[in-house]
């Protein structure tokens, strides 16, 4: 089975208030060297048939990522047990 992992991240320059809040908390916990925290999403799925890469790119363009604010990368693993 083909497993796909899609990472959706905010584009550089887009404000990430969630990342900023996490950064502040980490600094408060004593991790003072931590900076530029960005929060993204990991979407995992299995695809049974068809051209997996073409489908994944189209899915990201149409729904999974918003091109105005987000970038995406993906990994495709063949022969993974579900």
């Amino acid at each position: 089975m083909t497993k796909v992992s899609i990472h959706v991240t905010l584009k550089e320059g887009v404000l990430d208030p969630q990342g900023k809040a996490i950064e502040n908390s980490l600094n408060t916990l004593g991790y003072e060297g931590v900076h530029d925290v960005r929060v993204g999403k990991l979407i995992e799925m299995f695809i049974d048939h068809g051209d997996v890469e073409t489908q994944v790119k189209a899915m990201c363009d149409k729904l999974l990522a918003n091109p105005v604010i987000e970038n995406f990368t993906y990994e495709i693993e063949e022969g993974v047990a579900q």
Binding site: P17, A21, L63, L64, N66, V68, I69
Partner: protein
């Protein structure tokens, strides 16, 4: 004049929108369930606020893939007036009917209070009853109302006079204090503040009613022209 109010699973301002059009304005209005996907025969379409599909993935993203949005695109092309408020605005940007995106408020909080808006463009079919630069009191209620677009898009919005409302005191980090924008053609308007919640003095403000009266007046003018 007949309004359609689209209802998605998770919409929660649909009744307010219906009430504003039907009772405050006195026009005809119908609630249209999103699966019915028929938007022909309405003079204007209202997309209400709420949390369609639980705001899963991104606010408005799932709703923007529904079949009714295909009909909405057709109506937008035809020139039918379309007003999206709050989640309705998010659905319009997610479906590409309006440029930009709405991201988390810069201070991370859900905000729910009255804001002063400035009417930057009173020449749209939604705003002719306002004066230019009139300050109006309209409530906001959102966690993801921080309008974002890149510099190129922002220059285009400015050049085409597409910025319709701005915040006097920006509550969420929106670029250029943007509270509401219109498409190039002028018939699709999206805004985070809720004019339907300010359509009667009893609600603390009736400054939002003029959006509905503007739409009615412009529909009548158009009707008279075409008759």
């Amino acid at each position: 004049m007949k309004f359609a109010v689209i209802v998605f699973p998770g919409s929660n301002c649909d009744r307010d929108m219906y009430h504003a059009a039907k009772d405050a304005l006195g026009a005809e209005a119908e609630l249209v369930w999103y699966q019915d996907a028929k938007l022909e025969g309405y003079d204007a379409i209202l997309i209400p606020g709420g949390f369609s599909y639980g705001d899963y993935l991104r606010c408005g993203a799932i709703a923007s893939t529904s079949e009714i949005v295909t009909s909405l695109r057709r109506e937008a092309e035809k020139g039918t007036p379309i007003l999206g408020v709050c989640n309705g605005f998010q659905i319009l940007v997610e479906s590409g009917l309006l440029p930009g995106a709405l991201i988390r408020n810069d201070q991370l909080k859900f905000i729910c209070h009255f804001e002063d808006l400035i009417v930057k463009n009173n020449e749209t079919l939604f705003t002719t009853d306002y004066d230019k630069d009139e300050v109006i009191k309209i409530p906001v209620a959102h966690g993801e109302g921080n309008y974002y677009c890149d510099d190129t898009t922002l220059s285009e919005l400015k050049a085409n006079n597409q910025i319709v409302f701005t915040y006097k005191n920006n509550p969420n980090g929106s670029v250029s204090d943007i509270a509401g924008i219109v498409n190039k053609k002028g018939n699709v308007l999206g805004m985070m503040p809720h004019p339907e919640r300010a359509a009667e003095a009893l609600l603390g403000s009736d400054d939002g009613l003029k959006m509905f009266t503007s739409m009615l007046k412009n529909w009548r003018d158009q009707y008279a022209t075409n008759a």
